[in-house]
């Protein structure tokens, strides 16, 4: 047993309201620099949708992540042979147009325009060339645009769904969607680290944060290809790649990362997980069907005396073990088994977990005969051909799960590597918590029925209360259990980041200038 600690995250998708506050907090702190304007280390996508960069999940385009063929797990688009022979020209590198051309507006024109008959306008200009541009895309260009042909219909996760299933999904007012906030997953088997020819990317042993050493990066740009989540970005101005740093200067100071701190919906949880590094290799080589089970197997019980002893042997700080025992992430992922990793089939073992959304999926759509209605409506208004009914009534609880607006297959493709039973299991638990809490607070559900529901979902009343507390009532200290970094004993590496704000790079002591 090789016990290590990892700061890991849970995002509760049911609570995400899609406000993008996290993205803005991150942008203001880290990526408002030249060359980084297009980067969104944290972004929020509307699902179904194509995301940022466009269709990032489609690895037939971007060749990200690991693939298993002939029993061997290799990087899909990078790796030793492919990375070194393609070093002069990376055929799988997304270019800036796959993200969007960063832009601003000529606001000064609004006040400085000479007097005239027309209102002055602020024209959009490119942040690269400074020339006026027509904005074609932005980081959340398809925000709330589920059901539109350009975006939602192109979601790579839809490829397993039949035409009829897709139709059902998009029927109801063409507006069934949820939000998917994404940051770097700080994986246990990071493809970016494995792909970096110059060895600039590394995982920190103490907290598992994956970082790019800006002094060692040589712009071979393989990490951009290799990361299946497209969370490693190339700074075109400095000639260095950059990625989410999990706000490590904040974490080391005991503060929550900016995106999590600012989260309006309080969907984000951060805590320590202890894991067994010796199990990683077996897990990434596993079959896709059991990949998630093996992934969760790596995570250890922080209360187990054997684990604690092994952790101490490995030099994990007592304070970190203590934090692991109170970790909200451990509760969601292991104790309650409510959270799943995003696209586990990429085999990077992501350490950011998602609680699948329940609210947008529980109503059903039924086909009805609306011809009578149509005849009445036709002379008055437009032609009425909507033969679908949005049905929120449920006769029995689980019956609806199979006919929900979001086919299980869709969420399974996103969060469980195709395993529909896993998603169903989470939904049952989420629903059981609601029924249990309704029994407690409203009291219109009989004890027998509530207990039966809990039993079928496989959780106890105490667990349901715990889930309810951490989901709905949790305070700051419950959501973010950050172990002390003990940086008081480490060498002072960083200046106050504010001092070098606006410069290239962040917080590094010498003034940074682009190479010649």
């Amino acid at each position: 047993m090789d016990v290590r600690s990892q700061i890991s995250m849970v995002f509760h998708l049911d609570k995400c309201i899609g406000c993008h506050t996290c993205s803005i907090a991150c942008k203001n702190i880290w990526t408002d620099r030249k060359g980084a304007e297009y980067m969104w280390w944290n972004n929020v996508e509307t699902k179904p949708g194509t995301g940022y960069p466009t269709k990032w999940e489609d690895q037939s385009i971007y060749k990200g992540g690991w693939q298993k063929d002939n029993g061997k797990v290799t990087l899909k688009g990078a790796g030793k042979r492919r990375g070194l022979t393609n070093i002069f020209y990376n055929p799988n590198l997304p270019v800036i147009d796959d993200y969007y051309e960063p832009f601003t507006f000529k606001y000064l024109d609004l006040i400085e325009a000479p007097e005239g008959n027309d209102q002055p306008t602020a024209r959009p200009v490119s942040l690269i060339t400074g020339e006026p541009i027509d904005i074609k895309m932005g980081p959340n260009w398809d925000d709330d645009l589920s059901g539109t042909p350009d975006y939602a219909r192109n979601d790579p996760n839809l490829k397993n769904l039949s035409a009829a299933e897709q139709e059902v999904m998009f029927q109801l007012e063409r507006m069934a969607f949820f939000y998917l906030p994404r940051i770097c997953n700080h994986c246990l088997n990071p493809a970016c680290v494995a792909s970096c020819p110059s060895g600039a990317i590394y995982k920190r042993g103490e907290d598992g944060v994956v970082l790019i050493n800006q002094e060692v990066c040589r712009a071979w740009r393989m990490c951009v290809t290799a990361c299946p989540y497209k969370k490693s970005y190339y700074n075109w101005h400095t000639g260095k790649s950059e990625k989410c740093i999990l706000c490590f200067p904040r974490i080391e100071a005991g503060l929550a990362p900016a995106c999590m701190h600012s989260c309006v919906g309080r969907i984000r949880y951060l805590g320590v997980l202890l894991y067994d590094a010796s199990k990683i290799e077996a897990a990434i080589n596993d079959d896709t069907d059991s990949l998630i089970d093996r992934h969760l197997d790596i995570i250890l019980d922080p209360f187990d005396p054997k684990v604690i002893r092994a952790a101490k042997m490995n030099g994990v700080a007592d304070s970190t073990i203590h934090a692991a025992q109170f970790s909200p992430v451990y509760k969601y992922v292991k104790q309650w088994k409510l959270a799943l990793p995003l696209h586990a089939e990429f085999r990077t073992l992501p350490m950011l977990f998602y609680v699948p959304p329940l609210l947008p999926v529980m109503a059903t759509v039924k086909q009805v005969d609306n011809s009578a209605q149509s005849e009445k409506m036709n002379p008055i208004a437009k032609y009425w051909d909507d033969n679908w009914l949005y049905d929120t009534s449920t006769k029995d609880l689980w019956g609806t799960l199979d006919q929900v607006r979001f086919p299980l297959k869709y969420l399974a493709s996103l969060l469980s590597a195709g395993d529909e039973e896993l998603i169903k299991d989470k939904w049952k638990k989420l629903m059981a918590v609601r029924i249990h809490r309704r029994r407690v607070t409203v009291g219109d559900i009989s004890n027998e029925k509530a207990d039966e529901v809990l039993q079928e979902a496989g959780i106890t009343a105490e667990m349901a209360d715990g889930i309810f507390y951490l989901t709905a009532l949790a305070k700051f200290e419950d959501r973010f259990v950050i172990p002390p970094a003990h940086r008081e004993q480490a060498i002072e590496m960083m200046d106050f980041t504010g001092d070098t704000k606006g410069e290239v790079g962040f917080g590094i002591k010498s003034k940074l200038r682009r190479g010649l």
Partner: protein
């Protein structure tokens, strides 16, 4: 003429090599952030293929070829002793030279016709392009007109370069050579001298280590196992935790 010859064939090489060594080591040690290939593929990812790939493979082959002829002139002469083998070597090298030349022209056109690239281009880039294009053109010219280059490089230039490195410069064999050849030598040392001041420095940091390093890299601030071990001397390794 003698003074000019002495300057360009003796002084310039020493200046160039000194500047190259001091400049590169300084930049590597103190300006690590500036060491980058400064790839512009992210801003323009289509035309680059027709420039970067032929140029880089060409320059890589020719650099290694010149290096081998300098380090092992006898083996090159031995290889060239049969006309067929000489032809194979000369034609291969010439093809790589053409590939490098075409690549450079494509890169130059790409850089100055793509609006976005203007903003990641500086004056030194133009200097580098023009210098490399001139140098490649001279090389092709020499290879075509003064045959067979691989043989006389090994017997004339290798001893000259060797004399530079052992600090006993001997230009006797070089002075009578045509001016195009001398220009090629001057160009070569100018390029070497410019390496620390241009993006060419990225050729000093090729990712060779990647071939044998493990895929995953985990870094600790300090050795935590050791710190936890009670036998570790506190005076040497203060316990950093708890």
């Amino acid at each position: 003429m003698n003074m000019l010859d002495n300057f360009f064939l003796i002084a310039l090489p020493y200046i160039a090599i000194a500047v190259f060594l001091v400049g590169s080591i300084y930049r590597y040690t103190y300006k690590g952030f500036q060491l980058s290939s400064l790839s512009s593929q992210f801003l323009e990812g289509r035309k680059l293929f027709y420039g970067s790939v032929p140029f880089h493979w060409g320059v890589l082959f020719l650099f290694v070829g010149h290096l081998i002829a300098f380090l092992f002139p006898k083996s090159i002469l031995a290889w060239n002793s049969q006309p067929v083998r000489l032809m194979i070597l000369e034609i291969t090298a010439f093809v790589f030279g053409i590939s490098m030349f075409i690549g450079l022209i494509n890169l130059l056109i790409r850089r100055y016709t793509t609006p976005r690239l203007k903003f990641v281009t500086n004056k030194m880039d133009l200097v580098v392009y023009l210098l490399l294009i001139t140098q490649t053109f001279l090389g092709l010219w020499i290879a075509y007109n003064f045959r067979w280059g691989s043989s006389w490089f090994s017997s004339l230039l290798a001893p000259y370069l060797n004399s530079i490195f052992v600090f006993q410069p001997d230009t006797a064999a070089i002075v009578p050579l045509p001016w195009t050849v001398k220009l090629h030598i001057i160009g070569a040392f100018t390029i070497i001298g410019l390496i620390p001041f241009s993006r060419m420095i990225h050729f000093l940091v090729p990712p060779i280590n990647y071939i044998w390093r493990p895929f995953q890299q985990v870094t600790w601030y300090w050795n935590k196992r050791k710190v936890r071990n009670p036998n570790t001397l506190w005076s040497l390794h203060r316990p950093k935790n708890n």
